[in-house]
């Protein structure tokens, strides 16, 4: 068991090649990133603006969402009250909750935020969780292996899992991606009787949200939830009270969540390439020691 000069050069050559190749790979990734960035600039993601000052808590969005996605019909006895916090689950992708606030009872709709850089998408190792070019974050059945890493990673705890199925699916709001493909708008937006929901590009929606705040500064709390949270999200929120009062997570960071793992992932390729070379070097160095001591003996 040993390494002769020829082998050594072979390994050296391979290391060199992988270094060169690795660099090339990095370069092309860099390029990809750039074009990705450009794409983002060229085309604004679509999203939905939810105005909780307009919402009347009628649950129409819950009902049409269930119908649209073939989920069980919502239980009529299960309506938003200030006593319980209802949560989305494998049978409902969106819920309305009522909160007692400093400005009376306020409703808040919860569903997937459709982040610009979704943590679930970065977590998914099969690319089942996918941010589409248009903006919705969708789940693709044929790719998912059910590891639930998306659920660990999502800062909003959105993805739900069918624990009692033998072929479980991840359930989450898809912003009605199929309807969007056919030129439609999300079912909840289309059917909201109070016009609390509005569909459009993020840019338009942010403009509209700012306009509403400026025109009615007494009505609105001066913050658009989703503008910066988690690096920006597709769902944007307006509220009459601070968002903490209506059950929103206010400890969400403004940097995107995938940025938390970027440093680690970036370090993998260099370590994969340089560490074997270093180990081989140490091996060579200590081997000569060993043969020396053997000679002395």
């Amino acid at each position: 068991m040993g390494i002769n000069r020829l082998n050594f050069f072979k390994v050296l050559g391979l290391t060199g090649a992988s270094l060169a190749f690795g660099k090339k790979l990095n370069a092309s990734q860099e390029k990809g990133k750039l074009t990705g960035y450009k794409k983002e600039k060229e085309k604004e993601f679509v999203g939905v603006l939810y105005d909780s000052t307009r919402c009347v808590g009628c649950q129409e969005c819950e009902i049409v969402c269930a119908k649209e996605h073939g989920l069980p019909e919502p239980d009529p006895d299960d309506y938003p009250t200030t006593e319980v916090v209802r949560k989305s689950n494998e049978n409902r992708r969106t819920v309305i909750n009522a909160y007692n606030t400093s400005k009376g009872e306020v409703y808040a709709k919860m569903q997937c935020m459709h982040c610009n850089e979704p943590a679930c998408g970065a977590a998914c190792l099969t690319e089942a969780m996918h941010k589409t070019y248009e903006g919705p974050v969708i789940w693709r059945e044929n790719k998912c292996m059910g590891c639930r890493y998306c659920m660990i990673s999502c800062p909003f705890d959105v993805p739900k899992f069918e624990y009692h199925s033998t072929n479980p699916e991840i359930v989450k709001c898809t912003m009605c991606n199929e309807r969007l493909q056919e030129g439609g708008i999300p079912a909840c937006v289309e059917n909201c009787p109070a016009e609390a929901l509005m569909f459009g590009t993020r840019k338009e929606l942010l403009k509209e949200a700012r306009k509403r705040i400026v025109e009615n500064p007494d009505l609105y709390y001066d913050h658009i939830y989703g503008e910066h949270e988690a690096g920006g999200a597709g769902f944007l929120y307006l509220s009459p009270v601070p968002f903490k009062e209506i059950g929103f997570k206010t400890n969400i960071q403004n940097k995107s969540y995938p940025s938390l793992t970027k440093g680690f992932i970036g370090a993998i390729a260099p370590v994969d390439i340089l560490l074997p070379a270093a180990l081989l070097g140490i091996y060579e160095a200590t081997k000569s020691n060993k043969t020396k001591t053997e000679d002395e003996q």
Binding site: M1, E127, M145, R148, Y149, E162, T261, P276
Partner: protein, 409 residues
């Protein structure tokens, strides 16, 4: 003439290989030992539960929920188990890279342990996957989620299993009496070692990196951006503690496999390992204090979770470190073993804290594993021990290589 005999004997060998393997499959030794009598029913129940899991879904046998998607099967079997298997990469580094011949007698058994651990942990992982068949998506590469930490962990995991198998394969060749094959396989050892260590460093740290995106969900005393580094460092002394613990048991249980005088040799190995553990734990504690001060975590210490944190760090890192150092200085082999067990408890605490206990620590309803989850975990460990025992009784792992091997392990 002699050539003809050679050919003949070769044919003979080839004709004998399958009957040989079949005869080796039969159990050796007593069947009704206390260990077997206790472990067999547990394994039977465990296998029934595994069957139920595939029949009715994961929710039917676990207490997992929409809020707690990863439970005991990931937190203990995978996250903790991988740290325990870290001994394999540390020892091959000592023996093959640093050429420390002293540790050579235990390298083969450690590599075997590592390989079996990975084999069974990935088995446990498959139980936990909702759609296990789709795992081929990651392997055949129609969907490479290269931005995913889990993707990198998975691939490094897979390749490392191959490296461990290659490192162990000369023992299989010796068992089969395949001289040429052994020569070829042992020629691959160095390459397997070098890539194995690299893959290990990356997936050990990767398991820490898995939780980086769960920033607000893990208690700030455990969550920090240095988790990958901390996981690698703790896998060094965690893995070695497992080697000490497992070696001490093997020396009793498989005493027939050892030559005379190996006991003293083993003690001297343990003595050396205790020094490495002391060093590793010192580095770990040093980093821990740095992170603690840097993140300004004083405020949490007076809380319940803070106390729990102190139990982990003082009781099961600092204390065993002092014990390792003390027993290294005074050559107290028994205390080395005690320290190794305390360290193992510390690793379990740390990994369970990050993945389960400090994960959504403030939730109203906390996750407590179902008894069925425990049984399945025990079943996996027990099957692993059974396979380990089967191999030890047959292959030259603890005992010396056959006489025809020149560079005996």
């Amino acid at each position: 003439m002699s050539q003809a005999i050679n050919v003949q004997s070769k044919e003979k060998r080839e004709n004998k290989i399958w009957p040989f393997i079949l005869s080796e499959l039969k159990p050796k030794g007593k069947i009704f030992t206390p260990f077997n009598i206790i472990s067999a029913p547990i394994m039977l129940v465990g296998i029934i539960i595994i069957f139920l899991r595939f029949w009715n879904g994961i929710g039917s046998v676990t207490n997992l929920s929409q809020d707690v998607p990863w439970g005991l099967w990931i937190g203990f079997d995978v996250v903790t188990g991988v740290a325990f298997a870290g001994g394999a990469y540390v020892l091959v580094f000592l023996v093959y890279i640093l050429n420390m011949e002293k540790y050579k007698p235990i390298v083969r058994v450690t590599v075997l342990n590592g390989f079996l651990a990975y084999l069974f942990y990935s088995g446990a992982l498959l139980l936990d996957l909702g759609r296990p068949l789709s795992i081929v998506n990651v392997i055949i590469g129609n969907n490479f989620g290269v931005s995913s930490v889990l993707f990198l962990v998975g691939w490094h995991f897979l390749l490392y299993m191959l490296a461990l198998f290659l490192e162990f394969s000369p023992a299989i060749a010796e068992w089969l009496g395949a001289r040429k094959l052994r020569k070829a396989l042992s020629g691959l050892t160095l390459a397997a070692v070098i890539f194995g260590i690299t893959l290990s460093v990356l997936h050990q740290s990767g398991i820490g990196a898995l939780f980086l995106m769960a920033k607000e969900k893990i208690h700030p005393l455990w969550y920090n951006s240095y988790m990958p580094l901390m996981f690698v460092v703790s896998s060094v002394f965690g893995g070695i503690s497992m080697v000490i613990f497992e070696g001490s048991i093997s020396h009793k249980v498989f005493s027939d496999q050892f030559e005379e005088g190996s006991h003293e040799k083993h003690n001297s190995i343990l003595h050396g390992l205790s020094k490495i553990c002391t060093g590793g734990m010192f580095v770990y504690l040093f980093l821990l204090v740095l992170i603690f001060v840097h993140e300004q975590n004083w405020q949490y210490l007076s809380t319940k979770m803070g106390l729990w944190f102190l139990v982990e760090v003082i009781g099961f890192v600092l204390l065993p470190m002092i014990l390792f150092y003390y027993s290294y200085r005074n050559k107290k082999i028994l205390w080395i073993k005690v320290a190794s067990i305390m360290t193992l408890v510390g690793i379990i605490l740390n990994r369970m804290n990050v993945s389960i206990i400090a994960y959504k620590w403030d939730a109203v309803v906390r996750y407590v594993p179902d008894w069925k989850e425990f049984i399945v975990t025990f079943t996996i460990i027990l099957i692993e021990i059974w396979v380990f025992r089967w191999i030890i009784r047959r292959m030259p792992v603890l005992r010396k290589s056959p006489s025809w091997v020149k560079d005996s392990h």
